[in-house]
């Protein structure tokens, strides 16, 4: 085994991830190479330090606040969906009624009728375009999807 090969395998050796035959070759080389022993000792220090790194455990109060945040989001999720669906349905119905009334009313000028119709049509086009963009992004963005085990 060359020293270069040794260095590449040193991490896996310390992690206990080397197969038996490679581990034996590794240890044979280690027995005869001072430079590699020093290299391994340095790497061992780093991996041991890394393994000792632990995250702070939040206190009870912090955990309660954290859980409340998650719980509120869980509940609000349904609320936002219902709100969005309700708003879309109400706006669509309202727009339809406005157009219907305006077209029937002879007192309203044609220019105003055309203007309002164009305004509503523009809003619909923009909404559909945004919705389509969101759907396309969601479809191609692999990070937006959940993982399944």
């Amino acid at each position: 085994m060359s020293c270069d090969e040794f260095v590449r395998m040193a991490g896996a050796y310390l992690d206990g991830e080397l197969p038996d035959n490679e581990r034996r070759r590794f240890e044979d080389h280690l027995a005869v190479c001072d430079a590699c022993r020093r290299e391994l000792a340095e790497l061992k220090r780093l991996t041991e330090d890394l393994n000792m790194m632990r995250f702070k455990e939040p206190g009870d109060e912090e955990l309660e606040t954290y859980w409340s945040g998650v719980y509120n989001r869980l509940e609000r999720g349904i609320g936002w969906i219902l709100l969005a669906v309700g708003a879309i349905l109400t706006l669509c119905y309202g727009a339809f009624k406005i157009i219907e009334e305006m077209i029937r009313d002879p007192a309203i000028s044609v220019i105003l009728k055309v203007g309002v119709c164009a305004l509503i049509a523009g809003l619909v086009v923009l909404f559909v375009s945004l919705l389509r963009e969101r759907l396309v992004v969601h479809k191609v963005d692999r990070y937006a999807r959940e993982v399944e085990r």
Binding site: E42, N51, F55, K56, D141, Y143, E146
Partner: protein
């Protein structure tokens, strides 16, 4: 995974939100720490890890309760953080165009359980790694994942895990040596 957690997760699958509380509380600290290191921003870590718990809840019926919860959750958390980083990168492009500096990074190791000079230096060095190296260091050392689990999570061969981890540790050592630690 202990029996208690399995039972809680089964209750979650039946729609019992209260059963999700102990699960969230058990992993909240680790989840926030990992999110902090992935995002490089302690302020955003809590929000991202909470978002990941919400996504986990919404998909809880797809979860196999015979498997451990944390690796599954950790993959969701990783996806949430990646999405945020991508959004941040887009915003940063706009901000830089407008002549602003990005102030979302904070390399202070505020979420470490114990702090000393060496640990603080390691934290800062981990923060300075590229996303790819930081991610694999987090998986191996902060989440105690095996090479096989890392390979599955990143969808790469075990040989690549070994070589990437080797490069990441080398980069880490160089950064630490540069700091004189």
């Amino acid at each position: 995974m202990n029996e208690n957690e399995t039972a809680l997760l089964q209750r979650c699958q039946a729609g019992d939100k209260d059963a999700f509380g102990p699960i969230v509380k058990k992993y909240a600290g680790r989840a926030s720490g990992i999110a902090c290191l992935l995002l490089g921003c302690p302020d955003e870590a809590g929000d991202a890890s909470q978002e990941a718990f919400v996504r986990a809840w919404r998909n809880i019926r797809r979860f196999d309760t015979h498997s451990p919860f944390y690796p599954w959750y950790s993959a969701i958390l990783r996806n949430v953080c990646k999405s945020r980083l991508r959004r941040r990168a887009r915003r940063r492009t706009v901000a830089l165009t407008e002549g602003h500096r990005d102030s979302s990074s904070n390399t202070d190791p505020v979420l470490l359980a114990e702090r000393n000079e060496r640990k603080d230096a390691i934290w800062r060095a981990v923060m300075r790694l590229s996303d790819r190296f930081r991610e694999i260091i987090l998986m191996k050392h902060f989440q105690d994942m095996s090479y096989k689990e890392i390979a599955a999570a990143l969808d790469i061969p075990i040989g690549t895990v070994m070589s990437r981890l080797h490069s990441a540790r080398r980069a880490l050592r160089e950064t630490l040596a540069g700091e004189g630690s």
